[in-house]
């Protein structure tokens, strides 16, 4: 759905994006992670043809961007760096104007599509007010409604849950997962690891303009070959597993063992009381920080 090759953008002497090779596949919920200022937004703007690349190539939906923007963009719903609307007009009027201003917005279905999009984001019933009177969360929802208006094949969303309360974040997450299940590919840029971890199937990490990691999430979080055991009888356990214990922190020990089931049986057999036991998985946070640190060392 999205593929870039050596994508690079200089602003004057600053390199904002540096040789990025993105690969987003059909059906993905792709999490695009990076600290503030790492080049996420610039990359999103490059994908959408708002910013013109210094070098490298971009393909979206299999067509080159920005050259094929007129055929590609009507099939893409986007939210870039926060929502925007004409403050003196109502949400509904804003959506109607936006839909009328470009190709692919059939006039006869417009009212129905607007109703549908507003209902999906939970904004039905509040649309007489001008956007000026909207809360931050409502503006965010309106921005999402605008992105969903033409039932796009690809959603490119930059920080979509910004300004929403926990309840709202949950609703939007559920909405995006539903859309994905119905066949929409979602490209989600965020600096919130937890959000990405809960939704995404694939992750790319940007650090100071470079893509330092790109992989399936379940592959990144595969078991590390260590088992974490919490027990009040750490002394007994260490004696039994002599040499296999790699680390201890209070009542928790890390054991080099591939098979947690066998380890549990072994511990219980000698009378070690086990509070918790399970395979160690790396958190996304560890993976991301490690990738960023490695790239930092390389410089």
């Amino acid at each position: 759905m999205i593929s870039t090759n050596g994508l690079t953008k200089h602003y004057g002497r600053i390199t904002a994006v540096d040789g990025v090779d993105l690969d987003v596949r059909e059906g993905d919920v792709y999490g695009f992670l990076g600290a503030n200022g790492s080049g996420k937004t610039t990359t999103v703007r490059l994908l959408l043809g708002l910013v013109l690349a210094t070098s490298g190539s971009i393909e979206v939906l299999g067509r080159p961007m920005p050259a094929a923007g007129r055929t590609v963009l009507p099939q893409v719903g986007a939210m870039v760096e926060g929502p925007a609307a004409y403050p003196q007009l109502s949400g509904r009027t804003n959506l109607a104007l936006l839909d009328a201003s470009g190709p692919g917005g059939d006039r006869s279905t417009r009212a129905g599509r607007i109703d549908d999009a507003l209902a999906r984001v939970g904004l039905d019933g509040v649309d007489k007010r001008p956007v000026r009177a909207y809360s931050l969360g409502m503006r965010q929802r309106l921005g999402l409604a605008a992105a969903l208006l033409r039932r796009p094949r690809l959603l490119v969303l930059d920080e979509p849950t910004n300004g929403l309360d926990p309840q709202g974040i949950r609703e939007i997450r559920q909405l995006l997962l539903d859309l994905n299940r119905a066949g929409t590919t979602v490209f989600l840029s965020s600096h919130l690891l937890a959000e990405i971890e809960q939704m995404c199937t694939r992750v790319g990490v940007l650090d100071r303009g470079r893509l330092v990691l790109q992989d399936q999430l379940d592959h990144l979080q595969r078991p590390t070959g260590r088992t974490v055991v919490r027990t009040p009888d750490t002394g007994k356990a260490r004696a039994l597993l002599d040499g296999h214990v790699e680390r201890q922190d209070g009542d928790t020990i890390w054991v080099r063992a591939d098979d947690p089931l066998a380890l549990n049986a072994q511990l219980v057999r000698v009378g070690v009381r086990v509070l918790e036991l399970g395979p160690e998985r790396r958190s996304l946070e560890d993976v991301v920080l490690e990738a960023a640190r490695d790239s930092g060392d390389r410089r």
């Binding site: 703007r45 959408l48 043809g49 708002l50 910013v51 870039v80 403050p87 003196q88 009027t93 201003s101």
Partner: protein, 271 residues
């Protein structure tokens, strides 16, 4: 896209407030003239103003003469300066471009919208002035036809034709202002800077026109032939300045619209 821009123009409360304010000045002048009966002496003051005391139907022309040199260009500078920079500042520019609206198409739509604003303003001013003139001011020579600036008579038909010519000429002058403001609007971040930049150009131009030392520059200054539309009401019509004015404004339009287009096409939209 043009339709959408026109809808935005009509839906905006600011459009109507601006038109109302522009319209207020000639209306005030009309009322003052009617109440005091003190017109400027012929040949002084804004064009046609001395004539309206005898013939109120000339007041639309006089009203345009009042509005054209200052109010209208300011309104055009503000409206056209807002065109791209305003959308950018509001954040709506990026959503228009990814909708997608082609950049050339957007520029054209904005320019059409600005000109529609000018037409709307001129129509409102002319209509109000007609009503004010007919109700409050002199009605002596309504049937006999108007008098040209040169003193000879003009038939109503001829007067209408010349008025339309004058309006077309004024539109072209405003198009020149709009081109400058639109160019600045693609360059700066703040709509206010684009508007002020355009006004600075106009003020500087007006100032240099009053300076003898700037003689060499004067034929090329954007406001040099603005008031040449008065020549269209001479008998016979004095074409020289009007022709030069048309050429000069066309040059400004081509140069600045070209620059606006070139700049906008290659611009990184980062707002």
């Amino acid at each position: 896209m043009i339709g959408v821009e026109l809808r935005k123009l009509v839906l905006s409360r600011r459009t109507w407030v601006t038109i109302l304010l522009i319209d207020a000045l000639p209306t005030l002048v009309g009322i003052l003239l009617a109440v005091t009966d003190l017109g400027p002496r012929p040949g002084t003051g804004p064009a046609f103003l001395s004539a309206v005391l005898t013939d109120g139907t000339l007041f639309p022309l006089a009203a345009l003469g009042i509005v054209l040199p200052l109010f209208l260009p300011i309104a055009v500078a503000v409206t056209a300066g807002e065109a791209i920079a305003g959308e950018a500042q509001q954040g709506t520019l990026r959503y228009l471009l990814v909708r997608p609206v082609g950049r050339t198409r957007l520029l054209v739509a904005k320019l059409v919208s600005v000109m529609a604003f000018v037409v709307l303003t001129v129509l409102v001013v002319a209509a109000t002035a007609y009503v004010v003139g007919a109700l409050l001011l002199g009605s002596e020579s309504v049937s006999a036809g108007a008098t040209s600036v040169s003193g000879s008579g003009l038939s109503s038909q001829e007067l209408v034709l010349r008025t339309l010519l004058a309006l077309a000429y004024a539109m072209l002058c405003m198009l020149g202002v709009a081109a400058i403001a639109l160019f600045l609007s693609t360059v700066v971040r703040m709509p206010l800077s684009a508007a002020l930049g355009t006004m600075a150009v106009l003020v500087a131009s007006t100032l240099l026109l009053s300076l003898d030392a700037a003689n060499v520059l004067q034929p090329y200054l954007p406001t040099r032939y603005w008031l040449a539309f008065v020549d269209l009401f001479r008998d016979p019509i004095l074409w020289r300045d009007v022709e030069r004015g048309v050429l000069l404004q066309l040059a400004y339009v081509v140069v600045f619209l070209g620059a606006a287009w070139a700049n906008f096409m290659t611009k990184d939209v980062t707002d």
